[in-house]
Amino acid sequence: MKPEQDILHLLEKGKSHEAMSILMSNYKRFVHSTAMRYLRDDDDAKDLTQEVFIKAYNSLDYFRGDSKIQTWLYAITRNLCLNALDKKKRKGNIVQMDTLEISSDERSDRLVNESEFSHFFKQCMSILPEKQRETFILRHVEELSYEEISEMLGTSIGGLKANYFQAVQKLSQYLSSKKEGNIQ
């Protein structure tokens, strides 16, 4: 049985705590990585993951499987992230994701703490605008269909296909320039 079916089955039986355990073990990575892409801060992403699951737990009894669990969780995560970013923006301590530039000192510091791939992946993602980055991850990593992504992001399927292609194209150009030594 798929986790989605397991969860719905347990919910029908009124076992919301057990349903929640399966939900967390299957979607913790998804929620955290989504939060991480939006917030760009590990501590904030961890706190938000906790918040997402508490919110999901409190409204789990009302979930009847009209949409996919992943879509539902994505909507909660996205809303909470946007709220958190809005709060940060008002406080004036937000770092714009799309224009994130890493200084050479910061870069070398980070390399010590992070694995090489982690650093490379974050660099690659930082060159993509939000919609392209989200589409790339949801399509390439989460292997979701364009229909599912369309429901999550509220973008047309045609628009998503274009976003995905542009993301791949930009990454390809970025990797070529990196290979030629134009980017460290």
């Binding site: 913790k28 955290h32 991850i137 791949v168 390809s172």
Partner: protein, 184 residues
Amino acid sequence: MNNHERISQMIPDYINGTLSEVDMHIVEKALASSHDLQHKHDEYVHVFTALKKEDIIQLMNDEVESVDVILPFKAKRKMFIPKIMIGTTTSIAACLLLWIGINEQTPINVEKSDIMKIPSIELTETIDEYTPLELQSEEVEEVILDEILTVYVSDIESGKEINPLLEKEITNYLLQENADEEVL
């Protein structure tokens, strides 16, 4: 969008094997006949090789490992308990504790017949209409204490033997009350 652009856009999904069979054939045909498309194909393959899905998932899993989600206990619906029940239960509990306390102080070698029987109270008048007092738990406690104190005082006056524990408890209670009054 011309045919060349349309097929270019399909290449990322072709590489990941997420195209329909019909579209796969269209892309394969186009790749075989166009060097430009073949070149793009190779570039995009490089992107997906550099950003392997498995590596990204591994990275996300490593990041989420330290995330602990603690779910709160769901608040159960509060049971409605009438105030009178709370008061009654408290009074019964107080009487029981008092009774146990007094009983435990009764010496073992004392015969049952030696224990003074509680005199039965006979009503001199018959009350036709009896309306019970609605007392709060604090009021009930006060009534019980007043009763105990009255018995205690009358016992002292008549020169009867006083239960030492009861005497100690009453002394403590009176001292406490005096201290409270002083504080006030």
